[in-house]
């Protein structure tokens, strides 16, 4: 039931299933993401959207289905015994940004960015440092390059984390609620960097509660509920003419929470 990936698509997920014990977190998830497309996944807490995202680079082991990113295709197995080399190849195609930043606490901002290029890609330190400085400049943190994460604000940490993910030159950027742990006044600086990536044509999959960002910058919205991909469409379709009752209910609750 797997069809060959379209030349224009970057990510193709087919029939993905994920269990936590008896609980099914992701149910028969299938979707594709085109090159340079920005997809936002929205839904309630516990709807499985973060789990789905984390399955894409095997931080969570999916139990069934397949994931293809660029030219790497990995087929999930119920026993989890997937060739580590395949998982590694998949991870090199993706860059991930976490809700809680997860910067290496014992490394400075610059060291965080150059760590993986040096260790994983065996890049020369001087070359990696040039790349690192370039990326820190891109996220506006050149002056913080020698600071440890504990000395940076949440927004600054998240921007370093984005630079760190970009340093591996991924084909797809995965954002797992990148602004959910931030104070309101720091959200804009992180969204600003993400907007820049949208403009540069980066393929992005973003799990988010930032509906304004999703409406303005996503090419497509996927709404998830109880592990199901309920509905997908353009921001106008999803936000203005939702077809499914569950989507309407979610959006209604959002509108009336304030």
């Amino acid at each position: 039931m797997t069809q060959p990936i379209q030349p224009s698509s970057m990510v193709q997920v087919v029939d993905l299933e994920k269990f936590f014990g008896a609980l099914q977190a992701v149910k028969q998830a299938s979707f594709t993401v085109d090159i340079a497309e920005v997809v936002c996944i929205i839904g309630r807490s516990g709807s499985g959207k973060s789990t789905l995202l984390r399955c894409l680079n095997f931080l969570e082991q999916p139990h069934y289905g397949s994931i293809q990113i660029d030219d790497v295709r990995v087929i999930a197995r119920p026993d989890g015994r997937v060739d580590p080399a395949q998982i590694h190849a998949l991870r090199l195609k993706t860059g991930m940004v976490f809700q809680s930043f997860n910067l290496f606490a014992h490394r400075t901002a610059l060291e965080n960015v150059i760590e993986a290029p040096i260790i994983v890609k065996k890049m020369a330190t001087t070359e990696a440092t040039d790349l690192g400085l370039q990326l820190l400049e891109k996220v506006g943190l050149t002056d913080k390059k020698d600071q440890y994460p504990s000395r940076l604000s949440g927004g600054q940490q998240q921007r370093v984390a984005i630079a760190r993910a970009l340093a591996m030159q991924p084909k797809v950027m995965l954002f797992d609620e990148p602004t959910s742990a931030l104070d309101p006044e720091l959200i804009a600086e992180v969204l600003g960097v993400m907007r820049q990536l949208v403009d540069e044509g980066m393929t992005m999959i973003i799990v988010t509660h930032e509906m304004d960002f999703a409406r303005n910058f996503a090419d497509r919205i996927i709404f998830m509920d109880q592990g199901h991909l309920v509905e997908a469409g353009s921001p106008t379709q999803i936000f203005d003419q939702p077809q499914d009752a569950r989507t309407r209910q979610f959006l209604y609750a959002l509108d009336h929470q304030n």
Partner: protein
């Protein structure tokens, strides 16, 4: 009424001065109290008879001649004690690391070997293990010098306890650090080596220091099998010869205590070095 900037600035300086003053007073109080406690300790061994409100308090009299005669020779044991405990703690750290990795492994033989070792060693007394290594190994043709047997016994014993310290240290590094490393394409070994161990080290250095301090004293148990001329062994020899057991033990106690004080000072220096990027 809101104070103006100059006033808040002045108030801030005043608050800081008061805080520093209070900190100094605390330090002085601690030093004075230590001095008083130390004075009483010395007094207890002064040999004086003290009359306190009609009660006569006896103190212990020491043979100072014996102390000056035997002190230098017992002091030579310090070097042996340091060599013994340093070699043992190095061995213990290696075993503890392997033990911890085994405990965290999903490979059954590794997990089993590690838990078996930890259970066996923690389940039997150190003194027994020292005797056992010294007396049992020759039966199968392995003849170890007393020093080697001592290092092996202390290292094996402390390694088992420290394996749990290492495991706890490794596990207390936030799981998000591992996820970030994996997401960047690191292998498990790279992740452990570059991300988890350096951060775990900061957490396990204080308890390792503590174990080392304990081991400096437990190394005295090795003297029971004889021929390891560390502090306590020498003290007992001198004490027996001149029938001055108490004096001999006090000399040994003093040396152990001084060793501990010196190492404790080094320990806080080492901890400062490893706290980079975390404590602020």
């Amino acid at each position: 009424m809101k104070p103006n900037d100059a006033e808040t600035c002045e108030l801030g300086q005043q608050v800081e001065l008061i805080r520093q003053q209070q900190e100094r007073e605390f330090q002085i109080g601690v030093y004075v109290s230590w001095a008083v406690l130390f004075f009483f300790l010395i007094l207890a061994f002064s040999g004086l008879k003290i009359n306190l409100f009609g009660f006569e308090i006896k103190t212990i009299a020491l043979d100072l001649g014996f102390i000056t005669r035997s002190g230098p020779n017992i002091a030579e044991g310090i070097v042996v004690t340091i060599i013994l405990s340093t070699a043992s703690i190095v061995l213990a750290c290696l075993l503890a690391l392997m033990g911890a990795l085994g405990r965290l492994s999903r490979f059954p033989p590794a997990y089993a070997t590690s838990t078996f070792y930890i259970s066996l060693v923690r389940g039997t007394p150190l003194l027994l293990q020292i005797f056992f290594l010294f007396f049992a190994l020759p039966q199968i043709g392995i003849r170890l010098g007393p020093m080697t047997a001592g290092i092996l016994a202390l290292g094996l014993n402390y390694g088992a306890y420290m394996a749990e310290i290492f495991r706890a240290g490794i596990q207390s590094v936030d799981i998000g650090q591992q996820e970030a490393a994996y997401a960047l394409g690191m292998t498990r070994n790279q992740m452990m080596h570059r991300v988890v161990f350096p951060q775990a080290l900061r957490l396990i250095i204080p308890p390792i220091g503590n174990q080392f301090i304990a081991m400096q004293k437990d190394s005295a148990l090795v003297s029971t099998v004889g021929f390891v001329h560390e502090i306590l062994w020498r003290a007992e020899k001198h004490g027996r010869r001149d029938a001055r057991h108490l004096e001999a033990l006090l000399i040994a106690a003093t040396f152990y205590w001084i060793l501990t004080i010196i190492f404790s000072a080094c320990q806080s220096k080492i901890e400062d070095r490893f706290s980079k990027g975390v404590r602020e």
